[in-house]
Symmetry: C2
Subunit: 453 residues, 2 copies
């Protein structure tokens, strides 16, 4: 709504040639809204608006644009404009942008930056995709351990970056730049001018840090558990090299959640948005698992084929196959989802396996008994009372099905976690197939034993 109105205002101003008014309007707006409106403009107008943007917000707006819009703009602007843009971008935003564009654009950008920035960009771009290094920034406030609060406030007011990265300052020591402690800005402000920073900083047991090569989820876990606004990143010699800020942490949480959803749904995880993924690519992302699962489902078919004679003789058994497999799939999915989720938020761990197993068995017996009773009642009411033996076999199979499903639904994710595979990856797609096979084996075995004379 907001963005639409802004878009109209921008288009009107451009058409009327009221550029000064447009510039004043843009200065009043939030950079996120400006970026959203720019996405909707024609290419030529995008470039015009970008050039009109007040200089102090143009890099911020650029950082919020989609990567293909960024690439287009960069191709259209002059070397001088590009140099100024890269200087104004925060290092993490510049790296994010460069990771998405073709190599020739990267070369042009790097050629326009000074040696120091180029070195930093190259270093940041070399970190693996899911590492802490790939999401950190080097814009942060470091304070020397010899300072007092009064001196620190003066230094912060002189050199504060234009971002929330200021809200936790880090105290470093001597020439080694070793990380000594963290100091929330509010604590600095609270303290009297002559307090020594080392007296109020959080050190030892309260100082948390991650390494550049750690998985980025390590940083997320720390920030989540201790409500941190930023997590300091150190190198192998404990020197402070960067921080991961809360906004990037929220983005990582969202990306990891999306990955989990995709894995549970038997999709090949993809970073691209729905609207940006072509039909061919989308089909490829989905086909892998669909093929694997279709082939595995043919094992289920093989079981049914083995009991062909039994099923042909007692067709009521056929009609109940979907009821049994669906109930098994649903029951298993309930257990596995609860357990995967509880492990993801840290409530459950592999060591709780036997506790979980015992709980799931009891829940399964309760649920199974109720479902079986309801099903038996329904069949007797609506069906042929003389077929009670067949109804009984079907209802008993329900109990076994629910039990199997719940047990596998806790076994599969916890075993995946134990062998360090993402539980969502292994459990989501495989669960139904495994439960189906076991359910049908039990079903046919029970039916053969009790119904065939």
């Amino acid at each position: 709504m907001e963005a639409l109105t802004l878009l109209e205002e921008i288009n009107e101003a451009l058409e009327a040639g009221r550029l000064a008014a447009l510039r004043a309007l843009l200065r009043e707006c939030n950079v996120v809204d400006i970026a959203a409106a720019m996405e909707e403009l024609s290419d030529a107008r995008q470039l015009r608006v970008f050039r009109i943007l007040p200089k102090d917000i143009s890099a911020d707006v650029f950082a919020y644009l989609e990567s293909d819009t960024q690439e287009q703009l960069v191709r259209a602007i002059t070397d001088k404009e590009l140099g100024a843009l890269i200087d104004d971008l925060y290092l993490d935003d510049a790296v994010d942008f460069l990771e998405e564009v073709p190599a020739n654009v990267v070369r042009r950008v790097l050629a326009l930056t000074d040696a120091e920035t180029r070195a930093a960009i190259n270093r940041f771009m070399s970190y693996p995709e899911d590492s802490v290094g790939s999401v950190m920034t080097n814009e942060m406030i470091t304070l020397h351990d010899s300072l007092t609060v009064g001196e620190a406030i003066l230094q912060i007011r002189r050199a504060v970056p234009d971002k929330e990265t200021v809200y936790t300052c880090y105290v470093i020591g001597g020439r080694s730049r070793k990380l000594l402690g963290a100091l929330p800005l509010h604590r600095i402000l609270q303290s009297s001018d002559d307090t020594k920073l080392t007296d109020i900083m959080e050190d030892d047991r309260q100082l948390f840090s991650v390494r550049t090569m750690d998985d980025r989820e390590v940083a997320v876990e720390l920030a989540r558990k201790y409500d941190l606004l930023s997590v300091p990143v150190v190198d192998s010699e404990e020197r402070l090299v960067g921080i991961v800020t809360i906004d990037d942490i929220i983005d990582v949480i969202e990306e990891e959640e999306t990955e989990d959803w995709e894995r549970m749904a038997a999709l090949h995880p993809s970073d691209d948005e729905y609207v940006k993924t072509g039909v061919l690519r989308m089909a490829r992302n989905r086909l892998g698992w669909l093929l694997i699962l279709m082939i595995s489902a043919s094992f289920t078919g093989a079981i049914l084929q083995r009991y062909e004679a039994l099923l042909a003789a007692l067709p009521i058994l056929i009609a109940s196959i979907p009821l049994l497999t669906d109930t098994g799939g649903n029951a298993g999915c309930q257990a596995s989802t609860l357990i995967i989720r509880s492990m993801a938020v840290g409530e459950l761990d592999v060591k709780d396996f036997f506790y979980v197993l015992w709980k799931e068995i009891r829940v399964a017996l309760l649920c199974g008994a109720v479902l079986a009773a309801v099903n038996f009642g329904r069949m007797m009411l609506l069906g042929n009372v003389n077929l009670w033996q067949q109804y009984l076999v079907i209802s008993c199979t329900i109990i076994f099905t629910v039990l199997t499903a719940k047990v596998i639904g806790c076994l599969l994710p916890m075993f995946s976690k134990f062998i360090k595979i993402d539980p969502a990856l292994m459990t989501g797609p495989m669960l139904t197939t495994v439960v189906d096979i076991i359910t049908l084996l039990i079903y046919c075995a029970l039916a053969s034993a009790f119904l065939l004379k």
Copy 2:
């Protein structure tokens, strides 16, 4: 690991009676770790440790305890201790605690607080569970619109709350206390002492606020979209009454995600942790949907029963039922998960329906064709070549199944969103059943038409 070591240290210190040393140790520790360690102590030791805690962190530790531990402690301490504790707790933590304990504890707590706090607690506790009011806090920095930067810094340093709630200050005007603008602390620090706050604050198009009775997801959306550290809450007369801070926003994101997971998995959403939910309660949470889905699956059975003669005559058709229903379930789940997720993070909206539908149809035809070809090839290779007509019917059904599944997989969540029902609630459980029914209808119809002479 950390918590375990701390736990051992605490136990050792208690046994040796080294209370002063324990107090010094606890002062060095993070409150989250202390709370985690306390959870593992015996009741009597919990109380002893709580009384040893340095006064300035005891309320923080209390806020991180589980609610049953909180209740136990509150029952054990004296009225004087309880009064001091409630005074030290942040209002939002006090409200969180009171919402979980029995009414007699609430009465005792309220009797011990002063009239002003009591009024605030009562007001905060009266907000509905999912409203902004239920997650906001009233600890924030408000600055009068007549101040300069220098005066503001002095005021902040005098009255700063011991929390991250300071990092965005809010500018209010005149006696009405109307919210005029937001002012990130770093911008105050950056500016010269004689700048007027009204000249640097974010107002009009850059100021975002929510109402106390808004759904708390509105605040989450704002914070996410604009990378805010806190969202101001106003009443119906635009007066500032509180803020929602980033740590609570992350908690809400996690809770809402868990709810979506549970709904997709046909579970009754529950706020309780896995380990805290009893077997009976857990069975009840799961039985509702299992029963509904079992009953719906009996419709699938009815279809198979109608075609009993056909199936008994051509048993190869029976063996392929799980393959078809599973493939349909998987293909539908892929589409619906992608779409639900894309709608949740704001990439897709109901208005994109036809775009999505057309895309899914093309993806479905591609996937369906490949799956059908692979299946036909497999059956011809491993089966009886003379049955090619039956194999062809099965393979063609795969194409229809995938198409149906993908179409329903985008129809169901987008329609739910359109009629304002949570897409995860309606899509997760129902999808498989609906796809099953349509798949089997197509299957049996095709088989009757082409295979029965």
